[in-house]
């Protein structure tokens, strides 16, 4: 049964989502137990894949509907004809952490979302968002990537607009869906151009047959820039702030991982589809690397400077996720820029590979501490009824656990040693310094501003005297919310204490999967 695991990870939550409208007749408790067991099953299945992919560096292929799961191409043909799921280090890494954030999101929203008639639909959409993320990271087929990108976008848009009776959430949902469907239409145009030239949708086959004509470069741009928009790179990042601040807190925590799934798409396309370092490349890899670096640096700076002046705590954290995306783009952009340098990859081995390690490690850290911060923001909004920082004061007196969770998240995002943000930021600073010292200086300055803005939130919401009049609801936190935040703190601490183990067992196989080592 184990060679069927790749498709089971996608099909089991899908079956659960389809059956849920019928299961809900049994009542609320059986439904919650059913969905919780599905989330746990997905996590367990993904964790069981870690040994043979990350330690023995295998890549799993699964051909859907063929006579046997691993017959990639039928006899005597050079091209695959069915949809192939390919799991290598990078996709498994992203899928594992998406599943963890999914589980935490479901735990958190157990009591956070009121139990009216809409909770069944909310849970279905949560499951399908998880399916969209994991499916996106497992397929090796371009059109299947488009379909899962569409599933992810629609479920995120519907969940963003969950509170339709308030003034702004429907407009935020509209913005998210407009941005996503425009991006997916452009992506489909790029897929059409690729298919027209090579007759197949399989990324590995197209990569083998690539001859870098003008058409491929047009297809490259049509595919990568819309995905960078969905990931929140700067010039196209403005929808991030409006959308994250209107969504309920657990949904925002999963939205961060959803935009990281499209960031995975950017890196997967620029490496597996368009990247072969050996051939004489007419796609100037240096240009592509520099474009991603500029996007990254702009994201970092504009994200954090805009965050510093915000009054709304969720908008502040949304701008921070834009600036953290900038770090990842910077890290991996440096890797791309030196990936196919004419010096035979010496620069790549010296610091390019390290920059990519830092970038990808930062993706994982960001999904952890950014999710935690949004969950604490959910507690703040629930306590004070408003997200405006000026009307929050003295929360530390009551919710000691939330305060500790916020401190862990804020120090991790600023990159303070014992927490996981420090390891990945240190690697990014060191390796980018070799590439271009000025970029590293900007990265450090932005890191300082990050700490400054979270100090502002800590001072505003947690410190100060205990004022009963500002308080909206004072009953203790339900266990689901504390359990969710606890899991996130646990992961941040573990990855902070032992970063070398995480790098050796999780990040290096991911780099091996992405980059065909020279």
């Amino acid at each position: 049964m184990t060679e069927h695991l790749p498709v089971l990870i996608i099909a089991v939550p899908l079956l659960a989502a389809f059956v849920l409208p019928i299961v809900r007749i049994l009542g609320v408790i059986p439904r919650d137990i059913f969905v919780f067991s599905v989330f746990i099953a997905v996590n367990v299945m993904l964790m069981s894949l870690i040994p043979d992919i990350c330690i023995y560096n295998k890549t799993l292929h699964y051909v859907l509907g063929a006579a046997s799961p691993s017959t990639l191409t039928p006899e005597g043909l050079a091209f695959p004809i069915r949809i192939v799921l390919k799991i290598d280090g990078f996709s498994l890494l992203m899928a594992v952490f998406s599943a963890i954030v999914g589980l935490v999101g479901f735990l958190y929203s157990h009591k956070f979302v009121p139990e009216d008639g809409r909770k069944n639909y909310y849970v279905i959409l949560l499951l399908l968002m998880l399916v969209g993320m994991i499916g996106l990271e497992f397929t090796n087929d371009l059109f299947n990537f488009f379909v899962f990108l569409e599933i992810l976008s629609i479920s995120c848009a519907a969940l963003v607009a969950f509170r339709t009776n308030q003034k702004h959430p429907p407009y935020a949902g509209y913005k998210y869906l407009l941005v996503s469907s425009l991006a997916t239409s452009f992506f489909l145009l790029g897929v059409g151009l690729c298919y027209a030239q090579y007759g197949s949708f399989n990324m590995d086959y197209i990569n083998r047959m690539l001859n870098h004509s003008l058409l491929d470069r047009v297809a490259l741009v049509f595919m990568i820039i819309p995905l960078a928009m969905k990931a929140g790179a700067v010039p196209m990042h403005m929808w991030v702030a409006d959308t994250y601040s209107e969504a309920p807190a657990p949904v925002t925590a999963m939205l961060v991982t959803a935009s990281q799934a499209s960031l995975y798409g950017v890196f997967r396309l620029s490496f597996t589809l368009f990247g072969n370092s050996t051939a004489n490349i007419s796609i100037n890899y240096h240009t592509l690397g520099w474009i991603i670096i500029i996007l990254g640096v702009l994201s970092m700076f504009i994200g954090v400077t805009m965050a510093l002046v915000q009054h709304d705590v969720k908008r502040l954290m949304a701008f921070h996720s834009v600036s953290q995306t900038g770090y990842m783009l910077l890290g991996v952009g440096v890797g791309i820029a030196v990936y196919a340098g004419h010096d035979g990859g010496a620069a790549f081995h010296q610091y390019g590979k390290l920059a990519m390690t830092g970038g990808i490690f930062h993706i994982i850290n960001n999904s952890m501490y950014k999710g935690l911060l949004f969950l604490t923001a959910g507690v703040m909004v629930r306590r004070f009824g408003t997200a405006n920082l000026d009307r929050m004061i003295g929360m530390a007196h009551r919710d000691v656990f939330t305060t500790i969770a916020f401190i862990v998240g804020a120090l991790a995002i600023a990159g303070i040693p014992p927490f996981s943000g420090f390891a990945s930021k240190l690697i990014i600073f060191e390796s980018v310094y070799h590439f271009n010292p000025f970029l590293s200086v900007i990265a450090m300055f932005v890191s300082v501003l990050t700490l400054a803005s979270f100090l502002k939130v800590f001072y505003g919401a947690f410190l100060g005297p205990e004022r009963k009049d500002l308080l909206v609801d004072n009953n203790p936190l339900p266990h689901g919310m504390t359990a969710g935040m606890g899991i996130m703190c646990l992961f941040i601490l573990i990855m902070g204490i032992a970063p070398e183990a995480v790098i050796k067992y999780l990040i290096d196989p991911a780099i091996a999967g992405l980059v065909k080592i020279l």
Binding site: Q166, L178, L182, G192
Partner: protein, 119 residues
């Protein structure tokens, strides 16, 4: 040369769809523009698959095997999926437009700030 004009149609549809999304003010008009963009992308795939002297890829009652030429089937299979996805996105965006009108009373982008960016 028969389908050169259809490629021109594809490019024009994409151009009009995109320019309307960027310049039009009404939310429902933007949804129509998005549908026009999707129609352009669908037409691109089908014109890609067209072969002048081919027939439809269906073997029931098709001409005999020697003279049988067929059009490419894969883009048509994908466009089936893309039409339904386009419809699904349109339906959801229109429901959002209904709620925007219900809560804010207007459908025009200029009056719908949607964000009190007080600084």
């Amino acid at each position: 040369m028969t389908d050169f004009f259809l490629y021109v149609t594809v490019v024009l549809l994409v151009f009009f769809g995109l320019s309307a999304v960027l310049f039009k003010r009404n939310l429902i008009k933007i949804v129509i523009a998005l549908n026009i963009l999707e129609a352009g992308v669908n037409l691109f795939f089908i014109v890609l698959a067209y072969r002048p002297e081919g027939t439809a890829p269906i073997f029931t009652l098709a001409p005999e095997l020697e003279k049988l030429r067929m059009v490419l089937p894969t883009p048509q299979a994908l466009i089936l999926t893309n039409i339904v996805i386009g419809f699904a996105t349109t339906a959801l965006m229109l429901v959002f437009a209904v709620f925007i009108y219900r809560n804010n009373g207007t459908l025009d982008i200029r009056n719908l700030k949607g964000v009190e960016d007080h600084d």
